[in-house]
Amino acid sequence: MGSECSSVVAEELHVLAVDDCLVDRKVIERLLKISSCKVTAVESGTRALQYLGLDGEKSSVGFDGLKVNLIMTDYSMPGMTGYELLKKIKSSSNLREIPVVIMSSEKVLARIDRCLEEGAEEFLVKPVKLSDVKRLRDIILRGDENDEKKGSRKRKLQDLSPTSSLARDLTPLKPASAASKQSRLKRPRLKNTD
């Protein structure tokens, strides 16, 4: 995530939101705009990759020239799932630095593990709340500037970045045991505040 965040000058993130459901697209768009983010909302993984430049030539700059700072994608979509989109992004040398957040209405632990292992920044349970977006925004904006105010949580997030060897050690090759789950400091809040 390094240099990407230090180049976000105006503190306004550009978020690419991907969701096949029109109602959800409208809600997430509003959530993001009210949190002072620029939003581009698309309906599929395919459109998302098109926007990002399939071969990554433009390096996270969309067709309209706006750099993408964060991708939020629904998990269950027809055609390309959010997980498949995540994999494609993380295997692209130009796009892999962009943080990707997965959203899903289903709290399936195996699904969450899979996404985090593949490099997802967070796994949000739908419906996404304003507090989720605000928290995300803060995380992305602070980036990996060693901000002491954010303290240990931030350092742990860094330590668990997909490229660190520590993350590799923590990523189990066998089904996740309770112990390794506890070490997943990136595990998102699963509670639904209904």
């Binding site: 459901c21 029109l22 109602v23 509003r30 739908k126």
Partner: protein
Amino acid sequence: MEVNQLQRTFLEYTAALFREGFLDSQFTQLYQLQDESNPKFVVEVVSLFFDDSERLINDLTRALDEPIVDFKKIDAHVHQLKGSSSSIGAHRVKNSCLPFRDFCEAQNTDGCLRCLQQVKQEYLLIKNKLEDLFQLEKQIVAAGGSTNLVEWML
């Protein structure tokens, strides 16, 4: 009818909808996203939900009428409906989708048909109630009152 009376009615009506489980906290969240720059946000999202739901219910009716039922397709539609109803806080519609998905997995046509009936019923109920609610809101605005009454409930 004077503004205060209208507002009281609005609040009581909304409170009842929450109490009876028609709406959940996500509906309140939607009002948090509405402001002067986007004063019709809630009505717009809910309209999208109505259009989307009607389309899905029609698709489901057609799909269950096929000689060979495609349960995967039906499950996909129900999943969509569950998602969008959840996103606007249409609690009972969302809940009616849960057994529906179970019957899809069990490939039980009769069960699915019963669930579709239930879904239709819940949908029509919430549609009527929300339309009434928005009508009340319109009257409040026309009488010079505030529209963001749900704040009072937060």
